[in-house]
Subunit: 278 residues, 2 copies
């Protein structure tokens, strides 16, 4: 069962149904459920949570905004049957994983995961399991998780076609995501908003387009993700701001060798990040 | 004739020879000339400037670093025959265009241009006129230029297959390039050098890869370009730094509505930058 049938929830549903799994879904939006039923994305769907549907599910994937996810678990956790495995797709971990595990009844295990994939568009209409190909899937266990749940969660990532599956603690995950994902989105947004630059659109080359692709951003989701990972993100922003100030100073005083040294370090490091798997 | 047979010079040579033009070249590096002759990229080539070759050329394209370009013109300008049209590919304009025009003898016209294309690799071996497809070509005239020279320069851009050809003053050009190209390179470099992040390579998604693609950078060329456009680039860096600080502050104080408003503005503006021509 998928709870939250948007871009990611829909992509999970399509990917799993392809392997013959029975896939059900809950989403508050009747259009999402209707669309998914009409297009064969799910076998059955509801706009409200019901105990019967929950009891029927062996695995439940939550593809909700973090706060809604926590509320859902507090409200409906008691209806979950023993032995059900819960997992999620949430982009922040430290602030929710333990709270959710604590809110669940005995015998219901939650193993957190983060599929690092997405698109600039949202909604089940845009869902496509192809977004998982070549992407990373991160399992984020706590000391409360069983080995079996961790293994099942990894298998789910493999089934969905992720290129690489790794395991991180909630803290490691949030530091990594603060740097690789959230800081980059802050930069892209600031680049678009720092001056009225739309008259320059006709001169834009690929560099600028690449840097700002992610500046088209779901403001409700990302502002929530930023605030839930505030400390880790602030730390990453500070490191970046300091470094850009250093570069600005080198430029101001004409420190050519300093600038060149930074560029050489950057070139060397960036080579490590080249995509290995296409 | 091409002076400076690297990535861009070589791509010009290939593109022009494709249309049947006789293309010659000067480059200090004997390997570049040898490679170009062996691979049919040029008809004739020299490792030193010679008066006879210059007299033979109707159009000379300079694909040199800015300072080397200016030196070359001061040294060899007198050998140019009347009626020769000079153009270039230099990425900064205010600091060199008028100096070069002033250094030329009567009857030799220099019309500056900036093909906004490139790759992360350099050298004639990597040249390919396909990099011009879909890209912008900017003609940068001064009041000293004739209408004929401006038109010829535009035609050259069209022949090479650029998607869009526009005209800007040197000052407009440098402001635009400070924002769209140089600031983005500073950001990409700072993102790679702000912390030792290589252990995160295996978690990297497309957002980070896209933002740092240009962090692999030719340090000799870009440090020179940055310093030659220092004032315009510092102004752009300051605007960006201030904006990122504003966003940092909103995050620190938990100003959700402020963050969301920035994200909505960013999303709206970025839509204007979507590529029209593929």
């Amino acid at each position: 069962m998928i709870v939250g049938l948007g871009l990611i929830g829909g992509s999970y549903a399509k990917g799993l149904r392809h392997f013959g799994f029975r896939v059900t879904a809950i989403d508050r939006d009747p259009h999402a459920i209707e669309y998914a039923l009409q297009n064969g994305i799910i076998d059955e769907g509801w706009t409200e949570t019901n105990a019967e549907a929950l009891a029927d599910a062996d695995v439940i994937v939550f593809a909700l905004y973090p706060k809604v996810f926590l509320e859902w678990v507090k409200e409906n956790g008691a209806s979950l049957k023993k032995g059900t495995l819960l997992t999620d797709v949430t982009g922040v971990k430290s602030c929710i994983v333990k709270d959710i595990q604590d809110a669940l009844p005995e015998g219901v295990e939650f193993i957190s995961a983060h599929p690092m994939a997405g698109r600039e568009v949202s909604g089940v209409e845009n869902s496509d399991p192809a977004i998982f190909r070549g992407a990373n899937y991160i399992v984020v266990p706590t000391e409360q998780n069983s080995e079996e749940a961790i293994e099942s969660c990894k298998e789910l990532g493999m089934l969905l076609g992720f290129a690489q599956i790794s395991v991180l603690s909630p803290e490691e995950h949030d530091e990594m995501i603060g740097f690789l994902s959230q800081l980059t989105h802050c930069i892209a947004v600031s680049l678009m908003t720092c001056s009225d630059n739309t008259h320059l659109a006709c001169y834009t080359g690929d560099s600028f387009r690449d840097l700002t692709r992610i500046a088209r951003i779901n403001d409700a989701m990302w502002s929530e993700l930023f605030l839930l990972n505030r400390d880790a993100l602030l730390a990453q922003m500070d490191k970046f701001l300091l470094e850009l100030y250093r570069m600005r100073y080198m430029l101001e005083v004409g420190d050519v060798e300093g600038l060149r040294e930074k560029m050489r370090l950057s070139t060397e490091r960036r080579a490590v990040f080249d995509k290995k798997i296409k």
